[in-house]
Amino acid sequence: MTATFECKGLSKNFGSTQALEDVNISIAPGRVVGLLGPNGSGKTTLIKLANGLLTPSEGEVLICGDHPGVESKAVVSYLPDKTCMPLWMNALQLMDFFQDFYQDFDRQRAENMLQRLGLDDRQRLRQMSKGTREKVQLIMVMSRKAKLYLLDEPIGGVDPATRDYILDTIIRNYDPEAAVVISTHLISDVEKILDEVLFINRGRIMLQASVDDIRQQYGKSVDEYFREVFKC
C-alpha cells in the first residue's frame, strides 16, 4: 500500500539554521496523526514542505507516491497556520472560490455545515470574530474530498467550545481512506481524536507511536508523556 504522506531523509536549512534534519516518516491512509512539538520545532516547516511551499535541502517528500506539485495539490487540503483566505469575501464567495479551484470540493457539505453554524452568508470574513473565521476556514478545507488533510494549528487561539466544534468537524468529515495530519501543541485537546503521534523537537522526529500504545506502555496520557519528554 502506498503511503499517503512519506518523508525520506528529509532535511531543510534556512541559511545556517537547520529547521529539519533527516526526517523519515510514513503515514498510511485512514490515519489521523498529531504532529506535536514545542514552538519552533519544525512543525510548520514540515507541513510547508508537504505542500510544496518550500523545497527540501536534502531528501524527498512524497504525497501518494508523487513529489509535491500540481497533482499533489489536487489531493491535499491545507489549512495554514495563518488566515490565508481573502478577507473581503463572504461565505458564498468563498464557496465559489473553492469550487473553481478544487474539483473535489463538495459544496453541499460546506453549505450544510455553514447553515448549522447559523452564519449570515453575506457577512465578510473581515467582519467575523477570530473563532468564527477559523470555523469557516476549516469548513472549506474539510469540505474537500481530499486524500490528505494538512491542518496547521487548527485549534490555536480559539476557546474550548470552538475547539470541540473544530475537532468534531474534522472527525465527522474526513474520508476513511484519507489521512489527516494535525499540528498543534494543545495535546490534551486533540489526543482523543488521534491514532498516532509524531513528536518533533529541534527539527528531528523523536517518536512515531500510536496513542493507545503510549498509554498502555507508560500508563499516562500523551499529554503527560509529552510534558515529561520535553521538560524544560
Binding site: V32, I171, R172, K192, I193, D195, V211, G219, D223
Partner: protein, 123 residues
C-alpha cells in the same frame, strides 16, 4: 453514556468498558441496534478508528455482532451478557478489596463492615 476518560489507560479499552457497562446494565438491551461507528465516535469525541477497535474487541467477546449491511447489534445471548456482568462484578470487587486492604482491613473485617453499614442504613 458518560464519555470521560482516564489518562492512564488506552482509550479503546475504556470505550470497551463503557459500552459493556451499558449492555450488562440493560441500558443497551439485547438485540438493540447500535449507532454507527462514526456517530458514536463523534458523540464520544474520539477517533473513529479507536471506536472501531473497541467494537472489534466487543465482537470478539461476543457481546455485539455485525450484520453485513444492517449494522451492529447487541447480542441476544443472555448467557454471554450475564457472564460479562459477573466478570465486571469480580473486577469491581477485586478493586474494592485492594483499596480496603490498603486501609488495613482484612477479609472478615470488611464483610462485617459491609453488614454493619447496611444495618446503619436501615436505622
Amino acid at each position: 453514556m458518560d464519555w470521560t476518560f482516564n489518562n492512564d489507560m488506552p482509550i479503546y479499552t475504556q470505550l470497551v468498558d463503557k459500552i459493556k457497562l451499558s449492555i450488562v446494565s440493560g441500558q443497551l438491551p439485547p438485540g438493540e441496534k447500535l449507532s454507527t461507528v462514526r456517530d458514536l465516535a463523534s458523540e464520544a469525541k474520539v477517533n473513529p478508528n479507536t471506536m472501531q477497535r473497541a467494537f472489534q474487541e466487543l465482537e470478539r467477546e461476543g457481546l455485539v455482532f455485525s450484520q453485513r449491511s444492517n449494522g451492529r447489534f447487541v447480542t441476544e445471548d443472555m448467557e454471554v451478557i450475564m457472564e460479562a456482568k459477573r466478570a465486571m462484578a469480580q473486577e469491581y470487587i477485586r478493586g474494592f478489596m485492594e483499596n480496603m486492604e490498603k486501609l488495613g482491613y482484612t477479609g472478615e473485617d470488611i464483610i462485617s463492615l459491609i453488614r454493619g453499614g447496611k444495618e446503619e442504613d436501615k436505622q
